[in-house]
């Protein structure tokens, strides 16, 4: 049995499938189906596609409700649980604040600019039923970026398993879902990128089942007046978060691993570590002083 690797670009990140199969044509077929399933999710949920459900809902903000199917409703419900469990920090309506915090802005936003956008932020403002969602304030926007990619990793792993693949993994830009151990039974070695030295691994995590997500608080940063700001915005203050440099969480499913990682990065470093400890699931985190925390993985270089 050989392990075949397939790389493609989707959802704004590099994606990788490692599928072990006796028959190369089975691996090709699985890869093809995984790729088209990823495209389906991207077309449906990307806010950059004009015909996506997200765009339909966003364009109807302040005007009328939009009918949604059970899959969208379930993803919205899950996002609601994330909102509650993060005490309001994980909020899929907070994307509009990126208008104020991005590479093109050369200055800090004014208070009135912050108020203008904060008015359009707030999970609790969403009105939804089992088959409809309505954003009551014009300009409100949903952004599934923190939920769908992680969910797709689970979907692809389940799909591969259902087609007979027993060994392999799905890696969607850092969201890794394991189909099964390597063909010889050994676990997969997953490197955690060093937060500041991008071609080194700060730690290596070995897993043969479940999922692990690694995310960096300053992965996409920008500088204003010599100060580095994270791309993660606190939806209550409207300001970027000053949190952990990196967090990795292992969990049975990729969506849960991804959500816990995202929530940890939205908090201050102390609160983030405390949150990860409270979850009682393996994690690895790097604070602003490059201090390493957690019981997941082996530290290689710090």
């Amino acid at each position: 049995m050989e392990t075949y690797q397939f790389d493609f670009q989707a959802m704004g990140c590099p994606c990788e499938l490692r599928l072990a199969a006796v028959d190369r044509s089975l691996a090709n077929e699985v890869a093809r189906i995984c790729s088209s399933e990823t495209q389906r999710f991207e077309s449906k949920y990307s806010r950059y596609r004009t015909d996506s459900v997200t765009s339909q809902v966003n364009n109807a903000s302040g005007r009328h409700p939009v009918t949604i199917d059970p899959e969208v409703a379930a993803i919205l419900d899950y996002s609601g649980v994330c909102y509650v469990q993060s005490n309001g920090l994980f909020d899929i309506t907070s994307g509009v604040l990126r208008q104020l915090w991005n590479k093109n802005m050369r200055r800090l936003p004014t208070d009135s600019e912050l108020d203008f956008y904060l008015e359009k932020v707030g999970w609790k403002k969403i009105e939804m039923s089992s088959n409809e969602v309505f954003l009551p304030i014009k300009g409100m926007q949903l952004d599934f970026g923190g939920v769908v990619k992680e969910y797709v990793a689970d979907v692809l792993a389940a799909k591969a398993r259902s087609m007979g693949i027993e060994h392999g993994l799905i890696n969607l830009g850092g969201d890794i879902c394991i189909i099964g151990s390597q063909p010889d039974g050994t676990p997969w070695s997953i490197g955690v990128t060093h937060p500041t030295e991008s071609n080194c691994a700060i730690a290596v995590i070995e897993l043969s089942e479940g999922a692990v997500t690694t995310s960096g608080g300053y992965e996409r940063y920008f500088d204003i007046d010599g100060v580095r700001y994270s791309h993660l915005i606190n939806p209550e203050t409207g300001w970027p978060v000053e949190g952990l440099l990196s967090a990795s969480v292992a969990a049975p499913t990729s969506i849960v691993a991804g959500s816990l990682t995202s929530i940890a990065l939205l908090k201050t470093p102390e609160d983030g570590i405390r949150f990860l400890e409270e979850c009682a699931t393996p994690y690895f985190a790097v604070d602003q002083q490059l201090g390493c925390h957690g019981n997941l993985g082996d530290i290689r270089y710090a």
């Binding site: 899950y78 649980v81 469990q85 993060s86 969990a251 009682a280 699931t281």
Partner: protein, 380 residues
């Protein structure tokens, strides 16, 4: 109260997502139950003739509920019951001025077998069931068909249920010629039921139900010396069920009420309440109380009047008299992941004085019994 671990909260929420959700229903359930009860003997002084031994009844139940494919499920129910004992043939005035019973003689041993098959189709937020039931005894045969549906609404917070059923029963009393009983009679029953279940908040739910049934045919008791009932009966029942969970006590309260009314002049109230107390993850103890009260039927008589024409309605059956009854019970359940076992003990006592509208005379056949039941459920 401990704050839920975020990891656990997210994990259970994730289970609702399509990629992880299994088609319903997921598991196969097998349940068996064995029950026995003995009606207490009639006091000697109340028996004029015949045996004073009331019924001893043993019941065995079996149920299988299994998914078939992704959208269907099949249910099979089998119940087997054996009854032995004497039953009242008539009530007449004794020498002491009190009503006395004429009981049947040596024990009657009767067996009843009931088999039921139900097929259910599960949709996104509705399910439809069709069921066939067949019940057989030495002297009785019943065949029934039922169709019902359930619709979930309001984000699955409300459920509407509707059902219709039709039953055709045949009775061929034993020893009909020897005792001058009717030889073969028929009864048809049609029933409509409607129910609404409403989630009130995350800890409580309320159910309201209405059942209406019409019986047509031979409705009298052929084993009584003189029992003449109308050949039609229209009855309805309104029921309320309330369930409320108490976080701090880790227990749930059940409150049930039923109001019954029919065109034979009988109305009744039934209250049932139970406290479901959990001890840890595996044990549940349920003390419960039932109170029942009915008034008498229009044509009820405390004693039989053999002088009346046989076309005139009359019955001295204690089940048509005005009386009340209490049941006090406790149930113990031990649950493991894939199975659970239960033991129930109930004591039933009835008396004219417990009723809200008692008959003038206390019927000597009002009974009491102790019931013991053991059950086992498997899930896989």
């Amino acid at each position: 109260m401990a704050k839920p671990n975020p990891f656990l909260a997210l994990s259970s929420a994730a289970m609702a997502l399509p990629a992880f959700a299994a088609p319903q229903p997921v598991e196969t359930i097998v349940a068996i139950k064995a029950t026995t009860y003995q009606e207490e003997d009639v006091p000697q002084r109340d028996v004029l003739a015949g045996s004073d031994e009331r019924y001893k009844i043993d019941i065995g139940q079996f149920r299988l509920l299994t998914p078939v494919g992704e959208k269907w499920s099949l249910g099979v129910d089998v119940a087997y019951e054996t009854m032995s004992g004497a039953s009242p043939w008539g009530t007449i005035m004794g020498a002491d001025g009190e009503a006395s019973l004429i009981m049947s003689g040596a024990t009657i041993r009767d067996k009843r077998t009931e088999v039921s098959l139900t097929a259910t189709h599960h949709g996104e937020s509705r399910s439809i069931s069709v069921g066939l039931t067949s019940s057989d005894e030495d002297d009785y045969e019943a065949r029934a068909v039922a169709i019902s549906g359930e619709w979930e609404m309001n984000n699955k917070l409300s459920t509407l249920s509707l059902g219709v059923s039709y039953s055709n029963d045949d009775i061929e009393p034993t020893d009909a010629l020897s005792f001058g009983r009717v030889q073969r009679e028929e009864k048809k029953s049609r029933s409509l039921s409607a129910g609404w279940a409403q989630v009130l908040n995350k800890n409580s739910v309320l159910h309201v139900g209405l059942d209406v049934t019409d019986h047509d045919g031979y409705l009298s008791d052929p084993y009584k010396l003189r029992d003449v009932r109308p050949d039609e009966k229209l009855e309805w029942a309104l029921s309320l069920k309330y369930r409320r969970y108490f976080d701090n006590q880790n227990a749930a309260l059940h409150l049930d009420y039923r109001y019954y009314d029919d065109d034979w002049g009988i109305n009744s109230h039934t209250f049932h309440t139970g406290w479901h107390q959990n001890f840890g993850d595996n044990v549940r103890v349920v003390p419960n109380v039932r109170y029942y009260s009915q008034n008498e039927a229009d044509f009820y008589r405390g004693t039989d009047d053999f002088g009346l024409a046989t076309s005139v309605n009359q019955s001295s059956d204690f089940r048509l008299s005005g009386y009340g009854a209490y049941t006090m019970g406790v149930k113990l359940i031990y649950s493991a992941l894939q199975w659970d076992v239960s033991l129930s003990l109930d004591r039933y006592i009835s008396d004219k004085s417990y009723g809200h509208d008692a008959s003038d005379q206390s019927h000597p056949a009002l009974l009491s019994f102790n019931m013991t039941s053991v059950g086992l459920n498997f899930r896989f």
